[in-house]
C-alpha cells in the first residue's frame, strides 16, 4: 500500500510539528481541513463511500496529547487472548469509552465522552455535558437519548437485569436519568453517591455509553412488537437472549461477537469473538471522536489482531519470537520474567512495568464465622491469629517465591498511598517462632505428644486453606512454605488446592476453614474494601455471613459484632462524602479499627507484574497501574499508540 509507506516515511518530520505531519499526508493525495486521517479512510472519502473527515468528527473533537509524539498512521497491532472467557482482554484494549476516564496516574477522573459535568453539593445529582457531534461507528449521532435509553430502557428493565448493577443503585434504589437537552443528561440518585465519578471511570461504569438506541431498541419489546417472533427466527428462546447476543453487556463475550453493533470505541469488531474463534480482528472506527494535538483523527493503528491461544506457553513462544506487539495479560507472572528478559533482543521488545493496585499478594482469611463452634472459637481468637502471623518467616518466603521482589505486609493502602496506615500494614510481620509458641501456649493451645498442638477440647489443631492453583499458582507455593513454618510452631495445616467453582461454592456455603486471595485496595481502597470490613459476599472470606447481613440490610446472613457495624456505617458515610479530605479522614478511622481487630493475615506486599512492548511500538507508557478499575492498557489510550518503521 503506497499510502502507508508514505505516511510511515514522515515519522521524523511529524515530530517537528503537527502541520508537518499533515502536510506530508497531503502528499498522499488528499485535501484536508483541520488535520489528517488514515490513508485508507481518505481513499474511501475520495470514492464517495464515506463522508469527509469534518463531517465525521465532532465540532470540537476531544484532543488527546500523544504520550511521546504525534504518530503516523498504519500497522496492525498483535496481542494475545486466552481461549475462554477472555472477553475482558478485549475490553481492556479497546472498550474503554465511558463518560469519563482515569488519568494515567490513576489519581483523577478526566473528561471523556462527557466534556464537563456538575455535581450537586449533596452528591446525589450529576449533570453531564456530552461532546457535541460525536457519532457511533455507523455514523449515527450519539446524544443524550442514547444515555437515557441505555439506563432507563435497558439497565432498568427488570427482565433484562433482575437487579440494577451495583454501580447504578444507591440505598437500594436505581438511578434516574433524564435528558435536559440533546447533549445534557442528569443522573439523580436516591442518596449521596460521592464515588460515582470514580466508579464511572471503571469498566463497570460503561453502561451509559454501551447501548446505541437506534440499534438496540429493536431488541426491546417496548420498541419492537414483533420481538418474540424475531427471537424465534434467530433460534434463541427469549427476547432477553436475543438482546444479549446482539447488544452484549459490559462483561460478556457476546459484546464482541456482533459486527453490526455500533460502538464508540477506537476500533470495531471485524472478525468477532465467538465460540470456537481462533482470532479476533478489530478495525479502525472511521467515526472515532478523538484527535491528536495536530488535529489528526485517532486511532493511528489500522487494526488490532488478537490471536487466541489455548495455552500460555504458546503465547509466550509468540512473545519471545517477536510476534506480539504489546502483552501483559496472561504472561505477567514472575516465573516468566527470566525467560522474557533473556529474549528481549531476539523478540525486539522492551519490558513494561505494572504497578500493582492490590495491597496484599496473599491474604489468608481464617473463617471467623465457621460453622463448627470449636473452629469458630479458635479462628475468632485474635491472639491465635497474631501468633500464626508471627510464625511465618516472611523474608524467606519472599526470597523463595517472589525472588525478593516484595516486603512483609498485612493489609491496607500501599505505602505510596496518602491513606497508608503503618500499624495496619506492618503489625505482627516480624518472624518470632518462640514468641508465637508462647502466645499459643497462653491462648490454651498446648503441644501434644507428636509435637502438634491441641485445642482446649482435646482435638488436634488442624485446618485446610483453600487455594485455586490454576488462577494463582504462586499462592500454592507460598502456602506450602507457610505450612512448614507453622509446623515448627506446632500447627498442622493442609494446602487445599481446588477448582475455581468449588472455591466459590464452598465460600457461598460458608464451608471453608480458611482461604487465600490477593488482597485488593492498595491503590483503590474505596473501590474494593473487602479486607477492611465484611463488605464483599464472595471476597471477604473471613466472614461471609456478615457480608450477607451488610448487603441485604440485615435481612440475611448473620449479625456482625459492633466493630464491624461501625466500619460498615463509616464506609457508607465515606461513600456519600464528596470532599476527598473528609472522605480520607473517615477511611482512616476504618483502617484504625481494622488494624485493632486484625481479622486477616497477610504475607507480603502485592508484587508488580510486567509485560512487553515491541520496540517499534511508541507512545506507550512503560509504567502503568495494573488493576481492573484501571483496566490496563486501556486508560493509556491505545488509540494514540503508533508504530515507527
Amino acid at each position: 500500500m503506497p499510502n502507508e509507506i508514505l505516511s510511515r516515511g514522515i515519522t521524523r518530520r511529524a515530530v517537528l510539528g503537527g502541520m508537518a505531519g499533515a502536510a506530508a499526508l497531503s502528499i498522499a493525495g488528499r485535501a484536508f481541513a483541520a488535520g489528517g486521517e488514515a490513508p485508507a479512510l481518505a481513499q474511501l472519502v475520495k470514492d464517495g463511500k464515506l463522508p469527509p473527515l469534518a463531517e465525521r468528527l465532532p465540532k470540537k473533537p476531544m484532543v488527546v496529547t500523544p504520550y511521546e509524539k504525534v504518530g503516523t498512521y498504519g500497522g496492525s497491532l498483535r496481542r494475545g487472548l486466552r481461549g475462554s472467557s477472555d472477553h475482558n482482554g478485549i475490553l481492556r484494549m479497546v472498550g474503554n469509552q465511558s463518560l469519563v476516564r482515569w488519568n494515567l496516574d490513576f489519581t483523577a477522573v478526566q473528561p471523556n465522552l462527557a466534556e464537563r459535568w456538575e455535581v450537586s453539593g449533596d452528591a446525589t445529582q450529576f449533570t453531564f455535558h456530552l461532546i457535541e457531534g460525536v457519532r457511533w461507528s455507523d455514523g449515527h449521532p450519539f446524544t443524550a437519548d442514547d444515555v437515557v435509553f441505555a439506563i432507563e430502557d435497558c439497565v432498568k428493565n427488570t427482565e433484562l437485569y433482575s437487579s440494577t448493577p451495583a454501580q447504578l443503585a444507591v440505598a437500594g434504589k436505581p438511578v434516574t436519568v433524564e435528558k435536559i437537552d440533546d447533549y445534557t443528561v442528569k443522573f439523580t440518585f436516591a442518596a449521596a453517591n460521592a464515588l460515582y465519578l470514580e466508579n464511572l471511570a471503571t469498566p463497570l461504569g460503561q453502561h451509559p455509553t454501551l447501548f446505541p438506541k437506534h440499534y438496540c431498541s429493536q431488541f426491546l419489546p417496548k420498541y419492537n412488537p414483533n420481538l418474540e417472533a424475531d427471537a424465534k427466527k434467530a433460534g434463541v428462546t427469549s427476547w432477553t437472549e436475543l438482546f444479549r447476543s446482539r447488544c452484549g453487556d459490559i462483561e460478556i463475550p457476546s459484546r464482541w461477537g456482533n459486527v453490526d453493533k455500533p460502538t464508540l470505541d477506537p476500533w470495531v469488531v471485524k472478525e468477532p469473538y465467538a465460540g470456537g474463534a481462533t482470532r479476533v480482528v478489530m478495525t479502525r472506527n472511521p467515526y472515532f471522536w478523538q484527535v491528536d494535538t495536530a488535529g489528526n483523527q485517532l486511532p493511528y493503528i489500522d487494526e488490532i489482531n488478537f490471536g487466541i491461544s489455548q495455552d500460555v506457553e504458546s503465547l509466550m513462544l509468540n512473545v519471545i519470537s517477536g510476534k506480539i506487539d504489546i502483552q501483559e495479560r496472561h504472561i505477567s507472572v514472575l516465573a516468566n520474567k527470566p525467560t522474557l528478559s533473556q529474549n528481549m533482543q531476539k523478540g525486539d521488545y522492551r519490558l513494561l512495568t505494572l504497578v500493582p493496585s492490590a495491597s496484599q499478594q496473599c491474604q489468608i482469611y481464617f473463617n471467623i464465622t465457621h460453622k463448627d463452634p470449636a473452629m469458630r472459637k479458635m479462628f475468632a481468637d485474635k491472639s491465635f491469629r497474631q501468633a500464626l502471623s508471627m510464625g511465618i518467616n516472611r523474608p524467606e518466603l519472599i526470597d523463595i517465591v517472589y525472588f525478593g521482589q516484595s516486603e512483609p505486609y498485612q493489609a491496607g493502602p500501599r505505602p505510596t498511598h496518602p491513606w497508608y496506615n503503618e500499624k495496619y500494614a506492618r503489625q505482627f510481620t516480624e518472624y518470632d517462632a518462640d514468641k508465637a509458641g508462647a502466645m499459643l501456649d497462653e491462648a490454651g493451645y498446648k503441644k501434644g505428644g507428636d509435637g502438634f498442638r491441641l485445642r482446649p477440647d482435646g482435638q488436634k489443631v488442624f485446618f485446610s486453606i483453600d487455594v485455586i492453583p490454576t488462577l494463582y499458582p504462586d499462592l500454592v507455593d507460598a502456602l506450602e512454605l507457610v505450612k512448614t513454618h507453622w509446623a515448627q510452631i506446632g500447627i498442622d495445616m493442609k494446602v487445599n488446592t481446588i477448582e475455581r467453582a468449588l472455591y466459590y461454592t464452598r465460600g457461598d456455603d460458608n464451608a471453608h476453614d480458611a482461604a487465600v486471595w490477593p488482597g485488593p485496595g492498595g491503590l483503590d481502597p474505596m473501590l474494593d474494601p473487602r479486607d477492611f470490613f465484611a463488605f464483599h459476599p464472595q471476597g471477604s472470606r473471613y466472614a461471609i455471613p456478615w457480608t450477607l447481613w451488610y448487603t441485604s440490610n440485615g435481612a440475611r446472613g448473620e449479625e456482625p459484632p459492633e466493630s464491624q457495624k461501625k466500619r460498615m456505617k463509616l464506609f457508607d458515610e465515606a461513600r456519600s462524602t464528596a470532599d476527598l479530605d473528609k472522605r480520607g479522614a473517615i477511611m482512616k478511622q476504618i483502617f484504625d479499627i481494622a488494624a485493632e481487630e486484625f481479622e486477616t493475615v497477610g504475607l507480603c506486599l502485592a508484587v508488580g507484574g510486567f509485560g512487553i512492548i515491541r520496540n517499534n511500538l511508541r507512545n506507550v507508557p512503560e509504567k502503568e497501574p495494573d488493576s481492573w478499575s484501571w483496566p490496563n492498557p486501556g486508560p493509556a489510550l491505545p488509540q494514540q499508540f503508533t508504530f515507527t518503521s
Binding site: V236, T278, L471, A501, H536
Partner: protein
C-alpha cells in the same frame, strides 16, 4: 449382512440414550453450575453479583429444574428440532459451534489414522519378516522412543524450533488469510499444509504399539503350514505375504477403528491446546471447565455417535477382510 447392519443400527438408539444420559450426569456432577463459574469470573474482577441476579440467571438457563427434567428438555430439543441448546458462555446456539470443529477433528483423525498405518504396516511386516535384523532393532528403538516422548512436549519442542529458529508461524490449522475465509480449494490446500505437524506428532506416539502388534501377529502366521504350502507352490514372497498372513494380521488394526476418535479427542487434548488447533478437544475442555453443559453434552453425544458408527464400520470391514469371521 443387511439384516445385521439394520439390527446394529437399532441397537445404537438405546446405547446413545444411555451414553448421553451418563454424559449429562457426569457434566453436572462437579459442585456448582455454570452460574457459579460465571460468578467466580465476575468476582475475580471485583464485581459483586447480587443473589437475585444469580437466581435469575439460574432460572434463565433452566438450571433450577431437576436434572432429569433438564435432560429430557435437552433431548427433546435435539430430537424434535435438531436444537442442541444454547451455549451459556457464548450465548450462541450450540449447533453453530460444533459442526466445523467436529469436521476438522474428523479430518485430523483420519489423516492421523492414514499416517499411522502408512508408517506402522510396512515397518511391522518388515520387522516380522526380518526378525532380529539391524533394521528391526533400529525401528523398534526408534518407535519406542516415539512412544516414550509425551506428545505435548514434542509439540512444544517442534513449535519452539519452528518459531524461534525459523521464524515460522506455528499453531493452528490455517494461515492468517484463510482463517475465517469460506471453504475453497485454496483453503483446503492451506489446511493440508498445516496439518502435517499435528499429524506427525499424534502419529509418532501411536505407531509403536501398532508396529509391535503387527509384528507379533505376522510372526504367529508365518510358521503356519499354509504359508509353507504356498511357498512350495512357488508363490512370490511378496504375494505370499500379502495374500493371507497380512490379512489376518490386520485384524487388530481394523477392530480399533472405532476407538480412534475418542482416543484422538481425549489423547490429543493437550496437543491440540499447545498447537492451538481449532478442533473439538480444546472447546470441549473449556466447556467442561466452564460447566457449559449443553455445549459439552453435544460434543460428548457426537463423539459417542461417531464411536458407535466407527465400531459398526470395523465389524463390517472385519467380515470382509478376515475369512474366519462370519456374521451369522
Amino acid at each position: 449382512m443387511l439384516v445385521f447392519i439394520a439390527k446394529r443400527f437399532l441397537w445404537m438408539i438405546p446405547s446413545l440414550f444411555a451414553v448421553s444420559f451418563l454424559a449429562f450426569v457426569l457434566i453436572q456432577l462437579p459442585p456448582g453450575d455454570y452460574v457459579t463459574t460465571y460468578i467466580a469470573t465476575l468476582a475475580a474482577s471485583n464485581e459483586i453479583v447480587d443473589q437475585n441476579t444469580a437466581a435469575q440467571l439460574r432460572e434463565r438457563f433452566g438450571l433450577g429444574d431437576p436434572m432429569l427434567v433438564q435432560y429430557f428438555k435437552w433431548m427433546w430439543g435435539i430430537l424434535s428440532r435438531g436444537d442442541f441448546g444454547i451455549s451459556f458462555e457464548w450465548q450462541q446456539p450450540v449447533s453453530d459451534l460444533i459442526w466445523e470443529r467436529m469436521a476438522l477433528t474428523l479430518v485430523l483423525a483420519l489423516s492421523t489414522l492414514i499416517a499411522t498405518w502408512a508408517i506402522a504396516l510396512p515397518i511391522g511386516v518388515y520387522s516380522a519378516v526380518r526378525k532380529y535384523s539391524i533394521g528391526d532393532y533400529f525401528f523398534t528403538a526408534f518407535t519406542f522412543f516415539g512412544l516414550a516422548v509425551p506428545s505435548f512436549l514434542l509439540a512444544l519442542v517442534l513449535m519452539y524450533i519452528a518459531a524461534v529458529e525459523f521464524g515460522q508461524d506455528v499453531g493452528g490449522l490455517f494461515s492468517a488469510q484463510y482463517e475465517n475465509a469460506p471453504w475453497s480449494f485454496a483453503k483446503m490446500g492451506d489446511l493440508f499444509s498445516h496439518l502435517w505437524l499435528p499429524v506427525i506428532i499424534l502419529a509418532v506416539s501411536s505407531t509403536a504399539s501398532l508396529i509391535r502388534v503387527m509384528r507379533a501377529n505376522m510372526l504367529d502366521e508365518l510358521p503356519k503350514p499354509y504359508v509353507t504350502t504356498a511357498r512350495a507352490k512357488g508363490l512370490s514372497e511378496f504375494r505370499l505375504l500379502m495374500k493371507y498372513p497380512m490379512m489376518i494380521a490386520l485384524n487388530p488394526f481394523i477392530s480399533t477403528i472405532a476407538w480412534l476418535l475418542p482416543n484422538l479427542i481425549s489423547g490429543s487434548v493437550v496437543v491440540a491446546i499447545v498447537l492451538n488447533l481449532p478442533t473439538a478437544a480444546p472447546l470441549l475442555l473449556q466447556a467442561l471447565m466452564a460447566q457449559d453443559m449443553y455445549l459439552a453434552g453435544a460434543f460428548v453425544l457426537l463423539i459417542c455417535a461417531l464411536t458407535l458408527i466407527g465400531s459398526l464400520i470395523s465389524d463390517i470391514l472385519l467380515a470382509l477382510v478376515d475369512p474366519r469371521i462370519r456374521l451369522e
